[in-house]
Amino acid sequence: MSGLLNNIGRNGLTSKSGFNLIFQRGAAQITSIHAIPYIRTPTSTINHSVEQSNLRKRLLGRPGVLGIKRGMISWFTEEGKHFAATVIEIDACEVVGHKTKETHGYFSVIMGHIDKLKNFDTRILPMFQNAGVTPKQQIREFRVRDEKGLIPLGAEIKADYFAVGQFVDVKGVSKGKGFQGVMKRHGFKGLGASHGVSRAHRSAGGMGGNQTPGRVLPGKKMPGRMGGKNATVFNNEVLFVDAEAGILVVKGQIPGPNKSFVKVADAVKAYGRSVNDLVREAAN
């Protein structure tokens, strides 16, 4: 008998009465009418997508400010502590435009600074007219988390936008150093000063293996152009602010030579939140 049932189980026969007979381990079972045969699981999100990436991105709630590096000074605190600081000028920094999720896929504020009254590009003049501001010398955009961060068009942002004591990130283009060797560019140690080293004291040394891999691996640190690249200095403390005079003083140094343009924004590491973070915080 058992042999017969086993045979039926293998073949999956249907009984004459119409019940589905499921045979397991040689025993016949009838599916309960209360049983849930299957559940539709939610479609899995593809994390490696623009939308999900945008939700994960740590962004600021408000845009930053455009400035000009003016030089470094000595700074004393009230307690008499003494350190170096950098002076940033904020000259007629105004909101010129917006980018929204509907049209561009993300929110950002376009800002311009330094009034330019000659030789402007007529193609971008409508943007300034729309915002109600003078044509600007430089235009840059600051990405913000959501539409709350979109400052109204034409608003002037002054130095007191930042509070004394808060932290800011400063972005700029570092000073160009030209074509440099590995010692200066990557901090290699170079070769020996003696012990038979001949005319290769500042050389890089080995470039890789021999027959295996038989090539120099990609990304090998070599001599080349140094500096002149975008650089960010994180978490600089704001020491002094003068809105009327357009002066912002931050502690420490910032990239680039004097008179270069920089972007100053709230410190991402201190104040940056992603949309997902906010949802999580609200849930808690």
Binding site: R70, I73, G80, D91, Q129, T134, P135, E156
Partner: protein, 225 residues
Amino acid sequence: MLGIISSSKFLVRPSIITTIQNGTRSFTTLKKELPTVYEPLPKKRTGESVLAYLYQKMLNKYDPSGRRRILSKTLRAGDVIRVTYLDRTDVVGRIIAIKRGDNNVGSNILIRNKLNKVGVELRIPLYSPKLRNIEVIQKPEVRLARNKQYYIRNTRLDVQDVESSMKRKEAKKIKETERKDEKKKLRDQKAAKLAKTAAKREAKNAEHTSNSHVVEELSKKTEST
């Protein structure tokens, strides 16, 4: 916020599209007008440079009386100064170099001294709010060459223990003045003595003369008798 400068609208330039007919040119205006340009914001700091403005502000804050600014001009390498801090501690040393910032609060003074025969150097921020006073103790009679006298380190021109040498000098001065005083005293005493003796002698002489007068009188008397 800003007034539109209607007059600064760009003039619409004509564009030629048709051929010349009977010596006249026909044209159509551009459909799209060029945009308006708004006037710029007023200039900040009345056009003054940012750093100059800030330097002035900071100097006024850290040196309201202007005394330090005068010091930065008058002090020179070779002067011996005493710097007193707010907590009343002080340091003494000879100025080796003064780094004068471009009229800014970054100026500082490098002073050198010797403590237990070991050279000690200290860089003092001139406008530091920690300082109470900077006092010039001594100015050299003959100045060494250069404004930055780094070359004197560990040579025969090097700074000696400024404080003890000052003390020694002071002691010497005091001694000298004491000696002078003593000498003067002695001289005075001598003079007084001489004067006394002279006066005595005079008095004696006077007595003698008066006595002789008496004697003369007596002799006259005797002659008459």
